[in-house]
Subunit: 182 residues, 2 copies
């Protein structure tokens, strides 16, 4: 069960969901094809199980009440480093999640859940940038989210860990600065 989902996630992340067959998953997990259908009704059900299981981990990671007591700079640092930890704990999962954004047909049910992930930090960040004096905190929050997603996008293709962590620190530094004009 656990071994199957792990194998499937790895394959989905590397080869893409549609491009991965049941036979490949079974082979990688070291079980027979038939056994898969004892646990899941089909390939889509297996995908759903993977997503659902991993979804919980992110939710309780960023506690809104906890963050509200922090300073702006601290909050940004916690969110960036938290995202980094979350990613490093299971890179394949996040890659899979992002790749699904390009599969309009496959599982419309998951789409809202995936979109929510991106907006997870959005609501949290607006008051932060208000505090920092930004005249358009919503746009600044979106810019922050876009920068984060962009860095993660790089990490999927380029495999330089160093470079990755450096950019995370650069983001913390950049976005923690209070607004300043001229």
């Amino acid at each position: 069960m656990e071994i199957i989902e792990q194998a499937a996630m790895e394959l989905f992340a590397h080869k893409g969901y549609s491009n991965t067959s049941i036979a490949q998953i079974a082979s990688a997990a070291g079980v027979s094809k038939g056994l898969l259908y004892n646990y899941y009704t089909g390939k889509d059900d297996l995908l759903k199980a993977i997503i659902n299981k991993a979804m919980g981990s992110a939710d309780h990671f960023f506690n809104e009440d906890f963050l509200s007591q922090m300073s702006a700079a601290e909050t940004i640092s916690i969110i960036v480093n938290g995202s980094l930890e979350l990613y490093k704990a299971n890179p394949a999962y996040w890659k899979l999640l992002t790749s699904l954004m390009f599969q309009e047909e496959v599982l419309k049910e998951l789409q809202p859940m995936i979109a929510q992930k991106s907006q997870m930090s959005y609501g949290l960040m607006i008051p932060i940038f208000e505090k920092l004096g930004y005249p358009d905190p919503k746009s600044q929050a979106l810019l922050f989210g876009a920068a984060m997603d962009g860095i993660f996008l790089y990490s999927f293709s380029v495999q330089e860990e160093n470079h990755f962590e450096h950019m995370m620190n650069y983001i913390i530094e950049t976005f923690s600065k209070p607004y300043h004009n001229e």
Copy 2:
């Protein structure tokens, strides 16, 4: 020929490359399956043709010599607005290109070409941020690229054009500011 590539690109972008069959492409293009193999040796060859044809448009869009005469703010504005125009001229193509980043196996030959696309602006931007006084212009250029890619990533899932253009202007405004500490 043109109609086939157009239909294929649309399907690839919306359903994903692996999830699109030759039959679906032929049907969408209004031709028979067999005809496809008269123009292309296979599905991968069709993909290659699509990518190659569209690649040229981006290359001569950003002329390095031309940009070197511009001010920092002007260059940023040109690159952002140019990217926006390029995207709006053929959104499906850019979505397809990005989605291929998640297909490690499919067409390793295209991988470097796709990666280059992301770095297109990277080399151009470093001297810009030097001019603007940034102590780490490389990181700032990467942040700029990440922010751009992140915004495009949003546009693939959310379909709000307005919101999209607003963020592009916000990026121009934000990144055109000279470096300032405290």
